[in-house]
């Protein structure tokens, strides 16, 4: 599988990005959405498509190969309200800069990411992050420099407003 | 006192003027009104004033009060306030400039007189002692001790010795009121074999013109002393004040 970005592909085909979106949407170009708002396309399919439009195929190498990328459920969730399908266009412009990835000059995940997280520090913050992740399907390595976890909070006698024991 | 009206005009300018003169503006605006300065100031309460209040009055533009309170002459500018001030506010400098804003002739007589006497001749003595008198006292006392205490027959109290290592200052009062107090110092310098000298010019240690906040006179005094040190080619200028 090859991972593509709509904008890039549009450039190669010299068409508007919406055109590419429409191709995918209409099924002309068989592609599956992935989590990072990218699409997975079978290499053969892309070659077929290029041939169809008589476009040089040499650019294909520029895209990342991604053979085991976890693709999101491609069957787009049916909208409940469905009043304004346009505004819920799933092929909207990519990555406009809010979450980490975009904020940080785009991370391309070449492979399926590793499903584990390292938490450095075993205080109350580290413990909470660890629990959240471990309970939602990730393996967590917790690194603590002292002999036991608990951090500063363990040293507190009581906490307000309840004056409960901090333990 | 009546309420202060603020806001319509630019408030008093004294504080801003001082800030222009100080590096970082002396941080004068940064006050958190925490009062650590006043808590540790020995002058707190004198003249119903304390460092925090003094600074605050300046900040509120109460220039008249700030520049007229005699409290500025009771602050010794010891800098204990800055020592703990979380914002390192230079209140002593504010005090200094408040002193300066007094008409020269209205400043405390004692300080004024000492400064003026120091300006009288190049000795810089706050008691107005001239060069000849100083040299005479030193030689006279030295002779007396060399004779009375034979172990120190070789002791010297050089005056105007070219190229000495140390240029020594002496408090203005000692040669005049208690010349014997100079002797222990000479003895110590003699025993350690120091290469030192007095200068007939610029020998007096203190600088009342600084206390008077008379910048020009202060500068003159310092320059006179520095020139004396340089003229004798001394390396170290030792001031006991």
């Amino acid at each position: 599988m090859i991972e593509i970005q709509i904008g890039k592909l549009a450039e190669k085909f010299s068409v508007h990005r919406n055109t590419v979106s429409n191709w995918i949407k209409s099924g002309k170009l068989a592609a599956r959405p992935t989590i990072a708002k990218r699409y997975l396309i079978d290499e053969a399919e892309l070659i077929r498509f290029c041939d169809q439009f008589d476009i040089p195929k040499d650019f294909i190498g520029e895209f990342e190969k991604n053979d085991n990328h976890f693709a999101q459920n491609s069957s787009v969730q049916k909208k409940i309200s469905g009043k304004n399908p346009l505004k819920q266009n799933p092929f909207a412009p990519e990555q406009t800069g809010v979450n980490t990835r975009q904020n940080n000059n785009e991370v391309t995940m070449t492979d399926k990411p590793t499903g584990s997280v390292m938490v450095v520090g075993g205080g109350i913050a580290g413990m909470q992050a660890t629990l959240d992740l471990a309970e939602s399907g990730y393996r967590v390595y917790m690194i603590e420099k002292s002999a036991g976890i608990g951090g500063a909070m363990a040293q507190l006698d009581k906490t307000f407003p309840t004056n409960d024991c901090a333990m | 006192m009546a309420e202060i009206l603020l806001g319509r005009e630019k408030p008093g300018i004294f504080k801003d003027k001082v800030m222009e003169l100080l590096p970082e503006g002396g941080n004068l605006n940064a006050c958190l009104t925490c009062g650590a300065c006043s808590s540790g100031c020995p002058a707190t309460g004198l003249e119903d004033m304390d460092p925090k209040k003094f600074l605050r009055m300046a900040a509120l533009g109460m220039d008249e009060q700030v520049t007229s309170t005699p409290w500025v002459w009771m602050c010794t500018m010891c800098r204990r306030c800055i020592h703990v001030c979380p914002m390192e506010i230079d209140i002593p400098q504010l005090v200094y400039y408040a002193r300066q804003s007094w008409p020269r002739d209205k400043r405390p007589r004692g300080i004024l007189a000492s400064c003026d006497l120091a300006l009288k001749n190049d000795t810089c003595s706050a008691m107005g002692t001239n060069e000849e008198d100083f040299e005479f006292v030193v030689e006279d006392v030295l002779d007396e001790y060399r004779e009375a205490q034979p172990e120190f027959a070789e002791m010297k109290a050089p005056v105007n010795k070219q190229g000495a290592e140390f240029f020594f200052n002496q408090n203005s009062r000692e040669p005049v009121t208690e010349p014997d107090e100079m002797v222990p110092l000479w003895k110590i310098l003699h025993l350690v074999g120091a290469n030192w000298t007095y200068g007939t010019k610029g020998w007096a240690a203190e600088n009342y013109c600084m206390f008077l906040a008379d910048d020009k006179a202060w500068k003159h005094i310092v320059e006179t002393k520095a020139k004396a040190v340089e003229d004798l080619g001394c390396k170290v200028w030792l001031n006991t004040e």
Binding site: - | G40, P42, A43, G45, L46, E47, P70, W73, M74, C75, T76, M77, C78, R80, H83, V84, P108, R109, G110, I111, A113, S114, Y145, A148, Q149, E151, F152, N171, R173, E174, E178, D180, E181, V183, P184, L185, K187, I188, L191, A205, E206, Y208, F211, L212, T240, E241
Partner: protein, 127 residues
Amino acid sequence: MAEDLRFVVKKVVGEENFVDMYPNKSNNYCCGGGGGFLQSGYAEERHKFGQIKTDQIIATKADYCITPCHNCHAQVHDLAEIHDHAWNTVHLWTLICLSLGILGPNERAYLGDDLAGVAVFHPESEM
């Protein structure tokens, strides 16, 4: 600097006879003689100012207070005076010479009765 001076003082008077006041060094209280206060004419205020220094000195229970400069000497001496000569105020040079055994009879103006007659150098030279 502060440590160097303490070294000298301890050598001169003996470690056991040195009492530091509290607070000390950079955080010590000003005695009130400096900054021109001594000459400014506000004697009553100056004495009030010096009250903390007085308390500090008395708290040390020391017999002698060493002052670094003439301004301090005058103020601290003055404070001792109004507190019934609670201590003696000396210059460091006086103590150095005393410890070296070279302090003559005329150089002892600020020593107390307890030390006035100790190890007098050439007592006959008294004037």
